[in-house]
């Protein structure tokens, strides 16, 4: 199969190490800036919600993490696909990082949602469509992490583990839309209307702008974390390679 130029470059760890070294400060600063703006705005200046009071402000953490959680799964599956097709070692490392960060994001979304639920619904947990799907997504992430963790013998078996995780991620990708759709359909059959709070957003514009900024900020933060984790993985897997020693000593 002909390898596209970009993919070809990704096959070279020194290139990735150099480029990510240059990108990371930019992404890091940008993420900080966006998130600070969004949160200061959202927490300090956006108006209070008529029904929920101040507790709604957790939306600025909850929604961005929830959005990233799902997008992160596709990023992970994509790295898995590239790894399976072109056998690029770097993608293996990136898949590991994406699984970890994605699981963390999903957990944050669930956790912030639960914290939000207490003042709003008077209960920490509710079995509604979106929440249930999010929980299943969390399990899907844990499955991928579990496989990676279980194949932890020699380097060969670690590679086999990443391939297994890639296959699982791909099967999961086919399944996620099916899971989301069916859960949504099922709970919409019986759910009492009072729980439809997470339904259509009727958010005021002045609340929406900081939310959008927070979402973009979170995406950038995700990209930053992904590069950072992958670099760490790269350092530990190539620790005895000459180019890495050169790269580190140049600093």
């Amino acid at each position: 199969m002909k390898v596209p130029q970009f993919i070809h470059l990704l096959g070279s760890p020194p290139w990735f190490y150099r480029i990510s070294g240059q990108l990371m400060p930019v992404l890091g600063l940008l993420a900080c800036a966006l998130l600070i703006v969004a949160w200061v705005w959202g927490l300090g200046f956006a108006p209070e919600d008529a029904k929920q009071g101040n507790s709604y402000r957790i939306i600025y953490l909850h929604v961005p993490t929830a959005v990233i959680a799902l997008a992160g799964y596709y990023v992970m599956a994509f790295t898995g696909l590239v790894y399976l097709v072109w056998r690029i070692q770097l993608m293996a490392l990136m898949l590991k990082s994406a699984a970890l960060i994605g699981a963390a994001m999903t957990f944050l979304a669930l956790f912030s949602g639960a914290v939000w639920g207490k003042p709003t619904w008077g209960t920490w947990w509710v079995w509604d469509a979106r929440i249930t799907s999010m929980l299943i997504l969390f399990f899907l992430y844990l499955g991928v992490l579990g496989i990676i963790n279980a194949f932890s013998g020699s380097k060969t078996s670690q590679q086999a583990g990443v391939k297994a995780a890639s296959i699982l991620a791909l099967v999961g990708t086919v399944n996620i839309p099916i899971i989301y759709k069916s859960v949504d359909w099922w709970f919409s059959l019986h759910q009492p209307a009072t729980l439809k709070l997470t339904g259509k957003s009727n958010i005021d514009g002045s609340m929406l702008t900081p939310l959008l900024i927070a979402i973009v900020g979170c995406y950038v933060f995700y990209a930053f974390m992904l590069l950072w984790r992958t670099r760490i993985e790269l350092q530990s897997s190539e620790h005895n390679k000459q180019w890495l020693r050169d790269a580190v000593s140049k600093k």
């Binding site: 020699s154 380097k155 060969t156 590679q159």
Partner: protein, 216 residues
């Protein structure tokens, strides 16, 4: 003019560190090669590499002139080491009798007897069992056999499936003296008929023919 069955070029493989580096050798028709080396020198790893069951770090492997791709060859018959945590076991089903195991082997692998009638196969199996003195236990389940008997059942595959190359990891382990002589005879005959054999063994083997050694 001899046929090159297996050609290994500058092969390296290992786990954390390389076990062997740049191993090159070839195996032609009517040749026997003995892979030698102490415990842990990488003999089993080498054989697994040759059959595509373990990834090599670098180097090339050609079977009958074609590059190795796992899962697509009928060139060799591989009998693994008798259990060790990471190696390949004998390929016997514990719950089936010796005879059933061999029938299963004949019917699920590509071999010259695949199209033969049930009776022809049955006769062939009985012949082979006789040759390996397993007739007395032919109807016992494999889990009820002694370790040497289990090894003999696995060796009987060599006679059932006339494959050109035999790859044998410690085939002499666990078999008794009479069995060693028998197996030596089988190997000699196979080679005389134009076959090739690659094996590992810690014991001295007397085959009555020249044996190449591959030292690890």
């Amino acid at each position: 003019m001899s046929i090159t069955r297996l050609q290994v070029d500058r092969l390296s493989a290992g786990y954390e560190r390389p076990l062997f580096r740049d191993v090159s050798f070839s195996l032609e028709a009517q040749q026997v090669a003995h892979v030698m080396g102490g415990n842990g020198s990488g003999k089993t790893t080498l054989l697994n590499c040759l059959l595509g069951l373990f990834p090599a770090t670098s180097g090339d492997i050609y079977w009958n002139g074609f590059e190795l791709r796992a899962n697509a060859f009928d060139a060799a018959l591989y009998l693994g080491e008798q259990v060790n945590a990471q190696s390949y076991a004998l390929g016997l089903k514990n719950a089936l009798s010796v005879r059933e195991n061999l029938q299963l082997y004949l019917s699920t692998t590509a071999n010259a007897l695949q199209a033969a009638s049930q009776t022809v196969r049955q006769q062939r199996i009985d012949q082979v069992l006789e040759q390996l003195s397993l007739l007395a236990v032919a109807n016992k389940r494999c889990e009820q056999l002694s370790s040497g008997q289990q090894r003999r059942v696995s060796l009987s595959k060599l006679l059932l499936n006339p494959c050109a190359v035999w790859v044998l990891d410690e085939p002499f382990a666990a078999v008794d003296k009479q069995g060693v002589v028998l197996l030596e005879g089988l190997i000699s005959q196979h080679v005389e008929k134009g076959g090739s054999v690659l094996f590992t063994s810690h014991q001295d083997v007397s085959l009555g023919m020249s044996v190449r050694t591959v030292q690890l």
